[in-house]
């Protein structure tokens, strides 16, 4: 048996292209006759455009066209009025980027302005219960809380966050006859094709979207925003290809965001640390024109075995554009509330935080009353605590110092549902013995191109060097959006299933072929390795089978889907995150010294890249805990810090050496390759672990994200 390719510590297959500048991102494709489009953003949060003056812009050298009439388009928001600050009101098309940019600055609009409210805490703004988030209750939470021996009751908040991938939203649109080609920075090429087709009123079959390289996304590239639709629209109107790249400032208005949130959580416990009551109320900002909800209530309902639980989810529609998913959508903030409260409870009970969690491990999924597929959370706590050195923690807050600094340790649990969706793939064996696998997935950084190849190589019995996984083209077989930690399980399982079928087809042909050395063999006895089909006594090969058949290649298309598995088993990823911080009591500065996390994400396909993803999520969590927050001037709805200089994200010096480990396991009930999603869970436990470490260092329970120095002074 050859060494499986799955589990090998491979470097990413596209790394060479990425380190040499040869990886081509959306804005970088060479298209003949390309023009440049720059969007003009409105400067009121609510109203209508009463007059728009384009003469000065049209007179600017190089400016060709100015589009102001979007009435024929379907956008995600109203087109007959202004619904949020920064809404596109015009597109300037010019021969050069400089001319388009300058031209856009010369477009002047006047508005019929209406009173706008952009603050979710503004008085008198009614909140709503979203249709897809009814209130949840089990047991008697009110009664159990009232009679609890020990209670914790916290209010928490978080600021709005913007994904800020380093690649800006970018689209090139080219029409050839009625056919539209887009090179778009999207996490979902087929979703983009459908949305743009709908926006322009054309057939989805007339749109092809390329997204081979995606420079980060974190959720900002799931939906197809105005700039994509307007690029396609502008290119059609002017009859030439048009490129639209948002500026960093425009990103804050042109893509969604993680909504600001307000939480209250109450826990009731026995003095023995058995939590028997949980009440969780949460509220987020929403646009008025579109409802958005995410996984805020998931972990408060699910994570611990609390018999009496209720949750209530509310949204507050205001005059902003719509939020969208950002890494660990909702789940990370619901977990921040839950895990902060658990830490406070552990403190009040004088029980170790890990021990408190172990005392409340459920034996089944209490929400759906179904068994867990795999839940190696105890192993995560054990491995994480041991490798982090949790036993060195001082239980008494503020009792450990290093020179003038206060030192603290904190931990938090992480969990995320193992999302799987239907996926198709096409596998093709070539006459030279190499194989390609195709699916319309994407790779925004996790290494999908590498990891799916690894799965395919094992299924086909080929070395890694002989297999290529191709993604990034909406014309490939149907794949789900590249988000929600869905990709490895869904696309990987489709590749696995399809490559198994292709291998079986070759075996079938060989044993049926009188000219094959395997003729007449039992197919079940044929093993494949390094492209050779073997029984104990005879051998054939993919190459020879194709040569004898006179075929240049052989294709097969297959599908995989989770079916109704989620109604029978509860499949989640799990983790335990441990953080150590220092706090300068004079300056209020928090520095993260170490983070170590242990994860149960089922089978790990590509260990080197999985480790990178695990520690990458920690960097996002450090930003969430200590730095990131979008600031709106509620007088007009303008975002004050719409830049990478003013919206703080972690820089290299903000981060210590980060490390993570994976529990050696697999989840065969979840999917045929035994994996559970990794992309989202890596951020879910980080911010609460840091917040709890700050409490351990200082004795201050900080409940507002980000934790800024002023909160510690």
């Amino acid at each position: 048996m050859a060494t499986p390719v799955v589990g090998q510590r491979l470097s990413r297959v596209d790394a060479r292209r990425k380190v040499t500048g040869a990886a081509t991102y959306s804005a970088e494709h060479r298209v003949e006759g390309l023009l440049y489009g720059v969007i003009v953003n409105g400067t009121v949060a609510r109203g209508t455009v009463s007059r728009i003056s384009v003469d000065a812009a049209l007179g600017h050298p190089g400016v060709l066209h100015i589009l102001t009439d979007f009435g024929s388009l379907r956008l995600a928001h109203p087109v007959d009025r202004i619904a949020f600050y920064g809404q596109p009101i015009a597109v300037v098309v010019a021969e050069t980027l400089e001319a388009a940019t300058h031209g856009a600055s010369l477009v002047e609009a006047t508005y019929e302005q209406q009173a706008a409210v952009t603050d979710l805490d503004a008085p008198g703004i009614p909140s709503q219960t979203p249709a897809d988030e009814p209130d949840y209750s089990r047991g008697d939470p009110a009664g159990a809380l009232a009679s609890a021996q020990v209670k914790v009751d916290l209010e928490l908040t978080s600021a709005r966050e913007n994904h800020n991938p380093i690649e800006l939203p970018s689209t090139i649109a080219r029409w050839q006859g009625g056919q539209l080609t887009l090179w778009d920075k999207t996490q979902w090429s087929q979703g983009a094709a459908r949305t743009v087709a709908g926006a322009l009123g054309i057939a989805v079959g007339d749109v092809r979207v390329h997204n081979e390289f995606v420079g980060g996304g974190f959720g900002s590239g799931i939906q197809t925003y105005d700039h994509v639709r307007l690029a396609a629209f502008a290119a059609r109107e002017v009859g030439k290809p048009v490129k639209v790249v948002l500026t960093r400032r425009q990103f804050y208005y042109g893509a969604g965001f993680r909504p600001a949130s307000r939480h209250r959580i109450a826990l009731g416990s026995s003095t023995a640390g058995r939590v028997n009551a949980l009440a969780y109320d949460v509220r987020i900002e929403n646009a008025r024109y579109q409802s958005y909800t995410d996984g805020l209530t998931d972990l408060p309902q699910f994570l611990y075995g609390v018999p009496n639980t209720r949750t209530a989810y509310r949204v507050t529609p205001v005059d902003v554009h719509s939020p969208c998913s950002m890494r660990g959508p909702g789940v990370v903030l619901g977990n921040f509330a839950l895990e902060t409260a658990m830490d406070q409870l552990a403190h009040e009970l004088a029980v170790d935080p890990v021990e408190l969690r172990l005392r409340n491990e459920p034996t089944q999924d209490e929400v759906n009353r179904i068994p867990f597929s795999t839940r190696k959370l105890r192993e995560c706590y054990e491995t994480g605590a041991r490798r982090f050195g949790w036993s060195r923690r001082h239980a008494e807050p503020g009792s450990r110092t290093d020179g003038d600094l206060l030192i603290g340790m904190g931990m938090a649990t992480a969990s995320y549902h193992n999302n799987r969706r239907d996926c198709s793939a096409r596998a093709r064996m070539h006459a030279d013995g190499t194989a390609e696998v195709f699916a319309a997935s994407a790779d925004m950084g996790p290494g999908t191109t590498t990891s799916v190849m690894q799965v395919a190589a094992d299924a086909l019995g080929l070395p890694a060097s002989a297999v290529t996984f191709r993604l990034g083209d909406s014309s490939y077989p149907t794949a789900p959006l590249h988000a929600a930690a869905t990709t490895m399980a869904s696309v990987g399982s489709a590749a696995h299933t399809t490559c198994n079928a292709l291998r079986a087809e070759f075996i079938r042909r060989a044993v049926a072929d009188p000219n094959s050395p395997l003729h007449g063999a039992n197919p079940a006895d044929v093993r494949v390795r390094d492209g050779r089909l073997e029984t104990s006594g005879a051998r054939d090969s993919y190459r020879d089978i194709l040569r004898r058949a006179g075929l240049p290649s052989l294709d097969i298309t297959g599908n995989w889907g989770p079916g109704d598995a989620d109604s029978k088993i509860s499949t989640y990823g799990y983790g335990a995150v441990f953080a150590e911080v220092s706090v300068d009591p004079l300056l209020g500065l928090v520095r993260v010294r170490r983070i170590f996390a242990a994860y149960d994400v089922g089978r790990v396909i590509s260990p080197k890249l999985a480790h990178s993803q695990a520690i990458g999520g920690m960097v996002g969590g450090i930003g969430m805990a200590l730095l990131e927050g979008t600031v709106t001037d509620h007088r007009d709805g303008r975002i004050v810090n719409a830049s990478l200089a003013d919206y703080l994200v972690p820089v290299n010096a903000d981060d210590p050496d980060l490390d993570a480990a994976f529990i050696n396991t697999e989840d065969p009930q979840a999917d045929p390759i035994g994996v559970k999603g990794l992309g989202e869970i890596t951020i879910v436990g980080v911010a609460p672990a840091i917040g709890n470490a700050v409490f351990n260092a200082t004795g201050k329970r900080l409940t507002d994200l980000p934790i800024r120095p002023e909160a510690l002074l």
Partner: protein, 201 residues
């Protein structure tokens, strides 16, 4: 209510709920149909001819005076390996070497690079790109990248960081690499790649 095409606006446990989008199809404004596609020519005094050396090759380009060095590389010289992440000098994705010093090419006008010697990510490998610079190989080995978009800037900045001698410790590398943002969070591995390359240099 028109059919919605804004799928998967929410990614929740077990369900991907499509949001409904009510959109009235009324025009924001009625503008004239597009004029003929001819623009006012750019006056000669707003154009400049820039001569510079890029990756060892003499290049000449006529550019708008407002063109940044970054846009000269990406839009005129077919060298898109240098990335635009903010266009404001805040992210470092556009880092190149100008006369062996690392600079944010978005903050330099192309005309300021007259007669300069510019090295971009495309010019770092030797032998027609066959032989990677040791730091490029170290980025691959240590997986100092994920999406790859900040990577050219990280590599160019790292090459300069090593040449400057700012690699005495991992902490020093972190400090001197903090002008290059990585949103995927590859910092630990980037530091390892630079540390190893500096040791072996």
């Amino acid at each position: 209510m028109p059919e919605t095409f804004d799928e998967a606006t929410t990614l929740k446990r077990r369900t991907f709920v499509a949001a409904s989008t009510a959109v009235a199809g009324l025009p924001l404004l009625t503008s004239d149909r597009l004029p003929a596609s001819a623009s006012t020519p750019t006056p000669a005094d707003q154009l400049s001819t820039v001569r510079l050396t890029v990756n060892g090759e003499q290049r000449t380009a006529q550019v708008d005076n407002r063109t940044s060095l970054l846009d000269l590389l990406r839009e005129h010289l077919d060298l898109p390996g240098t990335k635009k992440g903010c266009d404001q000098g805040a992210c470092g994705a556009c880092t190149v070497l100008v006369d062996d010093r690392r600079v944010n090419s978005c903050l330099i006008l192309a005309v300021m690079a007259q007669d300069a010697n510019v090295t971009t990510i495309e010019g770092l490998a030797r032998g027609r790109g066959e032989q990677l610079h040791p730091l490029q190989q170290a980025f691959i080995d240590h997986d100092g990248l994920q999406c790859g978009y900040c990577t050219p800037g990280q590599v160019m900045s790292g090459v300069a960081c090593i040449a400057e001698g700012h690699t005495g410790s991992r902490a020093e590398i972190r400090e001197w690499m903090s002008g290059n943002l990585c949103r995927c969070g590859a910092y630990t591995n980037i530091v390892s790649a630079i540390e190893q390359t500096a040791k072996e240099a």
